[in-house]
């Protein structure tokens, strides 16, 4: 069988595994395209010379931001790819066992990456082109101009930038795969599924202590922020305090997730009525056995969510405050777009990181679910356990992120209040809506995919 047929078959066969990968690249590319095509969208509007210049400025800012965004999305693609490769270790081992050269295996993976990349890029750009028409109408409304000659705009520039930037990400993926394949030993690949994990149990007292410590750290961080917060922007001497509060916040968040599992689990396992019900023993142990290793990604997701929520709501609020002042229209639109762009990218990042870790988790645990099925646990019970596990992973960082955002938004309000009236809660609802749509959507896709895996 030649490389192309093999690669083609693999993609078709593992379409489900590629699902999240497809989805993430698609949404990423679409966002990327929309914000890079702002300038081309202006052709259909009756803009004054000034407004046109302003829009040009905004779109240049967006293009600059796009470098940063491309780096984040590139990281995501590499991360998602690593998950796919891990899941296919056994299959790759069999290729090697059958005598396929490592070079040829890399070639197969290259073709697969290319295929998946091509399709998701194309669909992403297509999606971007359609959504950017809507975006043009919003832009026109923000500039309070009419759309006189609505036309279907395709920005070749934006498309080219998208293809180029994501192309680089795919090259990194291919390099990563080649290195990864060359480092693998056949035995490890064949035995990939047979690893048993060792337990590192943290004593109850220690996890309670750490949990209390994390609560204190977060409390102090919030307090410093709320009392000193905005002074730090103007007052050099208070900047140290602000830095301390940020560090306390980050470390406190990390400790919170690190200690929570041990603490919460022991607590629940004391309530026999809950613990001895259905698969609860299994579910709770699943959660706690992974939390010790998952706390880093939980921290990462929580902080990203925090930046995303507070970014979008503060950005929106600031922008609407500025909009009342005709001279500040450009700044207002620029801020709104920028915060939305970055916020969405952060949101996309944490949602897909969670999705990928949870899917790889579910795939690692297939044997356990199969055993539970043999022991007589009905499919519904298994799905419920899986649902609870994934929900906890999605919900925990969100809850803490909302608490963080509450403080963050409050501090930012104190700062912005100097500039004008603010209606932060109205705009927080916008952020909330986006969150529910994207984050909730990822949660659902993850759960449904994972459920198919364990059946």
């Amino acid at each position: 069988m030649n490389i192309f047929t093999l690669a083609f078959r693999n993609v078709r066969k593992s379409f489900r595994d590629y699902g999240i990968y497809f989805l993430t690249i698609m949404i990423g590319v679409a966002l990327f395209y929309i914000f890079n095509s702002l300038e081309s969208q202006s052709v259909m509007m009756d803009l004054t010379q000034d407004s046109r210049l302003a829009l040009l400025g905004i779109s240049q800012d967006m293009n600059m931001l796009s470098g940063f965004v491309a780096a984040i999305l590139g990281f995501l693609i590499v991360y998602a790819n690593a998950f796919l490769i891990r899941r296919r270790k056994k299959e790759l081992g069999i290729y090697m066992l059958l005598g396929m050269k490592k070079g040829k295996i890399s070639a197969v993976l290259l073709v697969e990456t290319f295929l998946v990349g091509l399709v998701s890029l194309a669909i992403g750009i297509l999606l971007g082109v359609f959504l950017s028409q809507g975006m043009a109408l919003i832009t026109a409304k923000l500039f309070s101009v009419s759309v006189s000659h609505f036309a279907f705009v395709f920005s070749a520039d934006a498309a080219r930038t998208s293809v180029l930037d994501f192309g680089v990400a795919f090259v990194v993926v291919v390099l990563f795969n080649v290195i990864n394949i060359n480092r693998q030993k056949l035995l490890n690949l064949i035995n990939a599924e047979k690893r048993t994990q060792q337990f590192h149990k943290i004593p109850m007292a220690v996890s309670i202590l750490l949990f209390i410590l994390s609560a204190i750290m977060l409390g102090v961080a919030y307090h410093i922020m709320l009392t000193n917060g905005f002074a730090g922007f103007f007052d050099e001497s208070k900047r140290v305090m602000q830095l301390i509060s940020v560090i306390l916040g980050v470390v406190g968040t990390m400790l919170f997730f690190f200690s929570l599992s041990g603490f919460l689990l022991r607590l629940i396992s004391k309530i026999k009525g809950v613990y001895f019900k259905g698969l609860n023993i299994f579910t709770l142990k699943q959660l706690s056995s992974k939390m010790h290793t998952a706390f880093l990604s939980q921290t990462f997701v929580c902080l990203m969510l925090f930046l995303s929520i507070s970014g979008i709501s503060v950005g929106n609020a600031l922008s609407s405050a500025l909009r009342d002042n005709p001279r500040e229209t450009t700044a207002s639109i620029g801020i709104a777009y920028m915060s939305f762009y970055i916020g969405m990218v952060f949101l996309l990042t944490c949602a897909s990181v969670l999705a990928i870790t949870q899917l790889s988790e579910a795939s690692d645990n297939q044997a356990r679910y199969k055993l539970l099925g043999k022991l007589g646990a009905p499919a519904k019970m298994l799905s419920k356990s899986l649902f609870t596990q994934i929900l906890v992973y999605f919900l925990l960082p969100l809850v803490l992120a909302i608490a963080h955002s509450f403080v963050g938004i409050k501090v930012m309000c104190m700062l912005i209040d100097l500039l004008g009236d603010l209606n932060i809660f109205a705009t927080s609802i916008t952020a909330g809506g986006m969150l529910v749509l994207l984050y909730g959507g990822y949660f659902l896709v993850t759960y449904l995919n994972a459920r198919k895996m364990i059946r």
Partner: protein, 252 residues
């Protein structure tokens, strides 16, 4: 004695059009309550397929399997999982304990899946553990136990729900001879003291010699049957070896 298991004219056909394999070719037998029955046969004789059909993990092509007078071949998948957790206990070659759970939790899980009242869980686990001599390792994780201990935890999990029938698939396959012997002794104790009924598939004549009766399977049919009666284990073992010789060299 009351019949727990009735297998009648069981057939299992794999494949379709062109290449058809009859894994089970009209096999019939009964198992009574409190009986300890061994199933022997060469690789490919159909003994694993037989076990899978009785386990309700695989569907038979034709024939019937009655367990406590319920024909399991007519149950739908929702009823099957319910039936599995109430009426059947499983012991696998590779223990199949959940490595994230302690011995206690592994055993308790069988009860909680069967929706046993939460008040009874602890007591019932302790009683069974006491019976199988694993009371002192209940707080250990599988990785901290020996193979023999793991298999006894798995056995406790299989019988804690008081199933009608315990199905053991090569339970001593991964154990050294000393642990095997200890496990087989506890199987005898399960039958004698707890009135369990055990159907055990095995390759090993030594393990089989602990049973009350052996079914020999060849080409998907019952080849012959050996009943221990009043024989000592030693004598029964020799008889098993004789049948295996007749069955053909690698019959094991």
């Amino acid at each position: 004695m009351r019949e727990i298991l009735q297998v009648r004219d069981l057939e299992k056909i794999y494949g379709g059009r062109g290449s058809v394999t009859k894994a089970l070719n009209g096999i019939s037998f009964d198992v009574d309550k409190g009986e300890y029955v061994g199933v022997m046969g060469a690789s490919g004789s159909g003994k694993t397929t037989l076990l899978n059909c009785i386990s309700t993990i695989d569907n038979a092509t034709s024939g019937s399997i009655h367990i406590e007078n319920v024909d399991i071949t007519t149950l739908r998948s929702g009823q099957l999982s319910d039936f599995r957790c109430r009426k059947l206990g499983f012991i696998f070659q590779d223990y199949n304990l959940l490595d994230t759970l302690t011995a206690f939790e592994n055993i308790a899980l069988a009860l909680t899946i069967a929706k046993v009242s939460t008040r009874d869980v602890t007591r019932r686990v302790r009683v069974i553990a006491e019976n199988l001599g694993i009371a002192d390792i209940l707080n250990k994780y599988p990785i901290q136990m020996s193979g023999g201990q793991r298999q006894r935890v798995a056995s406790a999990r299989a019988i804690v729900t008081n199933p009608a029938l315990v199905l053991a698939d090569e339970p001593t396959g991964a154990l050294d001879s000393k642990s095997s012997q200890a496990l087989l002794e506890s199987f005898r104790a399960m039958v004698k003291e707890l009135q369990s009924t055990i159907l055990m598939v095995t390759h090993d004549p030594f393990s089989a010699s602990y049973a009350d009766r052996i079914l020999f399977i060849r080409d998907g049919r019952l080849f012959t049957e050996l009943i221990r009666g009043r024989d000592s284990r030693r004598v029964f073992f020799d008889k098993i070896m004789e049948v295996m010789t007749v069955l053909g060299g690698e019959a094991a």
